[in-house]
C-alpha cells in the first residue's frame, strides 16, 4: 500500500555564520588602522 502523501517539510531556517562576519569585521579594522598608519607615515 502506498504511503499517504506527507506535508512538505517547512524550509530549514537559514543560519548565518556570524563567526565569519565577526572575523571580517576584525580584518577590516586591521586594514583600516594600517591604512591610517600608512597615511600618517607617508604624509608627515
Amino acid at each position: 500500500m502506498a504511503e499517504p502523501a506527507r506535508p512538505a517539510a517547512p524550509p530549514a531556517p537559514v543560519e548565518t555564520n556570524m563567526t565569519a562576519i565577526y572575523i571580517r569585521v576584525v580584518v577590516v579594522e586591521v586594514i583600516v588602522l594600517l591604512s591610517l598608519y600608512w597615511l600618517q607615515r607617508v604624509y608627515s
Partner: protein
Amino acid sequence: MRWLDWSVVIVYLVWVVSSGIRASRRTDELDGYFRANRSLPWWAVGLSVMATQLSAITLVGTTGKAYADGMKFVQIYFGLPIAMIILSVTVVPFFYRANVYTAYEYLERRFDLKTRTLAAFTFLIQRGLSCGIIISAPSIILSIVLGWSLPVTIMVIGLPTIAYTMVGGVQAVTWTDVKQMGIILFAMGSAVTVLIWGLPKGMSTSTALHIAGAVGRLQSIDTSFNLHTDYTMWSGMLGGLFLMLSYFGCDQSQVQRYLTAKSVDSARHSLLVSGFAKIPLQALILLTGVLTFAFFLFNKNPMLFNPVYERQVLASPRGEEYRALESEFDRNFQTRQSAALALADAQKDTSSPAYASARTSFQTAQADVAGVRSRAVKLVREVTGDSTYTDGNYVFPTFILTYMPIGLMGLMIAAILSAAMSASSGELNALATATAIDFYRRHINPKAPDSSSLFFSKAATAFWGLFACVAAYYAANLGSLIDTVNKIGSLFYGSILGVFILALGFKRANGHGAFYGLVAGLVFVFVFAFHPATKSISYLWHNLIGAVVCVVAGLIVSAVTGGSTSQSSAHNRV
C-alpha cells in the same frame, strides 16, 4: 544664501517631515510605535544606528577639530568594531529574546525596581542634555547664516523633528534616518569635490595632503600611553571600547534601534554595519577637515571664523587691538601661502636640502599664523566673557557659506539639518519610550490601555523635544561641541554599563548590589572628573573607571547583603 539654496532647504524640510509621517505603519499600537512590530530590514536599522550616532556635531565639530588638531580624534572609535562583536554575541540576543521595550525594563526582572528606575532616570538626564547639544550645533550655524537669534534657529530644527517623531514613532525615525544618511553622504562628497577643486591649479590632492601633513594634520595614531592626553590609541582601544559598549549596549537610543529588526541575526547585522563602516566614515569626515585646512592655505579666510564675535570685538574699546592682529594675520597668511607653494614645488624631490628648508619655512609660517589666531581667540574670550570659546566649530560652516556654489550650499545646509534631525529624532524617540515604559506604565498608571500610553508617549516626545531645545540654547557656548557631548556621556556610561555587566555576567549579584554599585560608580566618576588632582585625565578613561567601580562595589554589596535575590531567577527565564 540665494533662492535656489533656500528652495533646497525648504524642499528638504517638507519632504523629510511628510515622508517620515507616511512611512509609519500601525503606529496606533504600542509595538508598532516603539518597535515597528519588529519588521525592519537590517540594512535600514544599520543605517539608522549610524545616523543616530552621526550628528551635526560630527560634521561641524569633527571637521573643525581636524582643521585645528589633525585626525587624532579618529582614535576614539578604535574600540568600536570589537564592541560591536561583543554586543552581537552577548547583549543583542539577550534583549531581543527578552521581548522588552527598553533596556532598563530587563533590570527589574533581573534585579529590582529601584535599579531599573535609577538606570532609566540616569539615561533621561544624560540623553536629554546630550540631545540639546546635538541641536545646538546646527542652530549656531543657522544663526550665523540667517542672522536670526539662536532661539529661533533652535526651533526651526527642533519643531519639524518633534513633529515626525511624535506622529510616526520609531518607524518614522528609522526611515527618515536612511534618507538623511543618503543626503549627508552625497553632500560630504560634494564638499570634498569643491575643496579639491579649490586647490591651486596643477596642485594634486596628494601634494595638498603632504603640505597639511608637514604640520601634523595627518597624525591619526598616537601610541604613547599618556592618561592626560585625550586621544591615544590606548584610550580609544580601552576607554573607547567601554564607551561604545555602554552607548550601543545600554543606551536606549541605540538599543531601541536594533529591537526593531526582524530577527536576532538582523539585529546583529545592523550593529555590525557600524563595526565595518564607522572608522572609515569618521576618517573620511576628518580627512574633509584636513582638506579644509589645505584649502584655506590658498583661499583667504577670516582671522577668526565666528563673525558675530568678530563684530562684537571690533565694536568694543579693544577693537583697535583686534585690527592690529588682523593686519599681522594678513601678513602671516601671505607668508604662509608662499611657503606652502614653495613646499609644493620642493615636494618633487623630498631628499633635497631645498625640501627640508621649504618644510621648515612652512612650519614656522604656520606657527606664526596659529600664534596670531591664538591671541585673537584670547582677546575674544576677554571681550565677550565666553571663556570656553573655540574657533573650530565655525570653520566648516564658513567654508560652506563662502565657497560652496549655488544649490550645493543649500544641500550642505540640508545635510547638517539631516545630521541634527536624525540624531535627535532617535534620541527623542528613546527618551519618550523610557519615560512611557519605565515611568508612566510602571509608576504612574500600570493598567494604562495602549491608547493612553501612546498619547503619553507623544506628549513625552514633545516634552523632551522642548527640553532639548532649551538645553541647546545653553549648550551653544560650551566649547568644542563634539568633546562636550562625549564628556557628558562618559560621566554616566561606564556606571550604567557596570550594571549590565553585573546583570549578565554575575549570577550572585543582587538588586542592592546593582543599585549601590551604580550609585558608587556615578559618584566616583563625578568626583574623579572634577577633582583638581584627576580632572586632567582624559575623559575616555571615565568609561572604564565607572564600569570597574560599579562592578566591584556591586559585588561587595551583593556579598554583604546575602548574594543573589529571588528576582535573579528571572535571569535564567529571559
